[in-house]
């Protein structure tokens, strides 16, 4: 098997004195959907953010396409072909939908813009209807669509998604998960998905990691984890 697209080895990260990650190892191969599940406060979002240099890891190594990106500034990492739809979506509230999408394409050759915009609007027709509207006035579901579309505008090789289902109606969640499945299947997009909704995430992903207390507690194919008693008890029971 070829080298993984992204490799995280022994990653530590902290917010001030609080150590949120204590030696995390993760590998993501090209073309995969990998999900990271875990309880609140397990360090999932911290892992996603420290992959982007915010906060800078305190120890460990991250390699992307064989290149060590551990010490790089955030904007430099993003320019290498990683994009993130972050926790809380972080739409630019006083910019229109169109301007948000243009911001997503900041690092891309302008020659691709029309084509990429067209693809984003086909993926989320709702955004086309709302293109002149300010980001801050969109509904939660529309903001999530915009956050994913904005991330895709940079033509990433690796797409990081942080809790895209959070706070959304089930019908919107299904639609968003369907889009993730499609971009993976049709464009071969590699996706690293952080989710609390473990059942949906495991159904969608090829492989999964379980994060607890800042460490990887378990990993395997999604089918393995779905069948695992511990995972079922901790993350799947209770109405997910």
């Amino acid at each position: 098997m070829s080298a993984p697209l992204l490799k995280i080895e022994g990653l530590h990260a902290a917010y001030g004195a609080i150590e949120a990650l204590r030696g995390v190892d993760v590998e993501i191969n090209e073309g995969e959907i990998v999900t990271l599940i875990g309880a609140n406060g397990a360090g999932k979002s911290t892992l996603l953010m420290s992959m982007c240099g915010k906060p800078r890891p305190t120890a460990g190594r991250i390699t992307f396409e064989g290149r060590d990106i551990t010490g790089l500034a955030t904007h430099q990492i993003m320019r290498l072909g990683i994009a993130q739809s972050p926790e809380g979506r972080r739409i630019f509230p006083r910019m229109t939908v169109m301007e948000n999408l243009k911001m997503g394409a900041v690092v891309t050759d302008p020659a691709f813009f029309d084509e990429d915009l067209d693809r984003a609007f086909r993926m989320f027709p709702r955004l086309k209807e709302r293109q002149g509207q300010r980001g801050g006035t969109l509904s939660g579901g529309e903001q999530q669509m915009l956050a994913i579309a904005r991330a895709l505008m940079s033509r990433p090789r690796l797409l990081l998604l942080d809790e895209p289902s959070l706070g959304l109606a089930p019908i919107i969640v299904r639609q968003i998960f369907q889009v993730i499945r499609e971009i993976n299947a049709e464009q071969g997009m590699t996706v690293f998905l952080v989710e609390q909704n473990a059942f949906h995430a495991l159904k969608l992903a090829h492989r999964a990691y379980v994060l607890a207390g800042g460490r990887v507690q378990m990993s395997g194919t999604s089918a393995e984890l779905l069948g695992n008693e511990e995972v079922r008890a901790a993350y799947l029971e209770g109405g997910h």
Partner: protein, 307 residues
């Protein structure tokens, strides 16, 4: 107190207001992007005034006598050099302190401000520097029955036209270009801006540079308009332009322009009808009233956003 006199004061006030507006834009843009006041901005304007004065004298010495060309060269040089000052202020006083407690960069900026004042005082002397009028003449618009002639000087036309042109250019830059979008993105969510690949440090530095270049234009206008400058003019002009920015709604570009024009008008009208000595008091009293009854300024509307 006839109409002609009033019209004359309105013209004078708008001219002065245009100068304040240009300086106020620098305050409001920097505030918008880093949420802090650049306390050295008034000094940047003063440096711009001195560079213009030196430039105009040098143009005379090397024999560039066609006024539009000479002014254009001086303007471009003053803007470029002042922009370097703006860049240096950001690098020295703000960037190293980013992420530390909020007061720290303000204090370091006041330090830069004191440094620049003293530096210019040492280099250029403490006495006011006069300069012969460069743009002379004007129109006589009308004469009242009392014999008062309203004049609109070519210099006033030059100041107002240049200000309007710069406003249009700047509005276009902020609303339509990638740099302007990046600036607004940093203003709204700096972390997210870096997550889509925007170089936040560079964008903030560019904002200081742009504000400084505009302050240089204002400095040149004031040199031409009053014909005399000294190392201390940055302080009061800075405070007034800051007042203009707050009056219009800090962070808002149209607000800075409106605030600048209002301050110019208040100052001119108060001087004309009440007392010259208390014109600054009038300006700051208006600021106090606005802050009491409309704390976010005239155009700085706090927006309701969904989270």
């Amino acid at each position: 107190m006839d109409t002609a006199y009033l019209i004359q004061q309105l013209i004078n006030g708008l001219t002065l207001g245009a100068v304040y507006a240009l300086v106020a834009i620098g305050y409001t843009m920097v505030y918008g992007i880093i949420g802090m006041i650049n306390f050295a901005h008034g000094e940047v304007y003063m440096v711009g005034a001195f560079l213009s004065l030196i430039g105009i004298i040098v143009m005379g010495l090397i024999g560039v006598t066609w006024v539009p060309l000479a002014l254009l060269i001086v303007l471009i040089l003053a803007m470029a050099i002042t922009a370097l000052y703006g860049w240096a202020i950001e690098r020295i006083a703000y960037r190293p302190l980013r992420g530390s407690f909020r007061l720290a960069p303000l204090i370091s900026a006041i330090g830069v401000s004191i440094f620049l004042q003293n530096y210019v005082q040492l280099a250029q002397g403490a006495r006011p520097k006069p300069i012969a009028p460069v743009i002379r003449g004007g129109f006589e618009l009308l004469t009242s029955e009392g014999g008062f002639a309203v004049t609109l000087s070519y210099l006033q036309i030059f100041i107002v036209v240049l200000t309007i042109a710069l406003m249009i250019g700047f509005t276009y830059l902020i609303t339509q270009t990638p740099l302007g979008r990046a600036q607004r993105a940093c203003e709204q969510d700096r972390t997210m801006a870096s997550l889509i690949g925007v170089d936040v440090d560079r964008t903030i530095a560019m904002t200081f540079v742009m504000g400084a270049a505009l302050a240089a234009v204002a400095g040149m206008m004031v040199t031409l308009y009053y014909g005399v400058i000294d190392f201390y003019i940055g302080f009061l002009a800075g405070v007034k332009a800051f007042t203009a920015a707050v009056l219009g709604g800090i962070g808002s570009l149209p607000g800075a322009v409106l605030g600048g024009l209002l301050i110019g008008l208040i100052e001119a009208l108060w001087s004309a009808y009440f007392s010259v000595e208390y014109k600054d008091v009038a300006v700051f009293a208006i600021l106090v009233l606005v802050l009491i009854f409309r704390p976010s300024g005239l155009l700085g509307r706090p927006e309701i956003e969904k989270v």
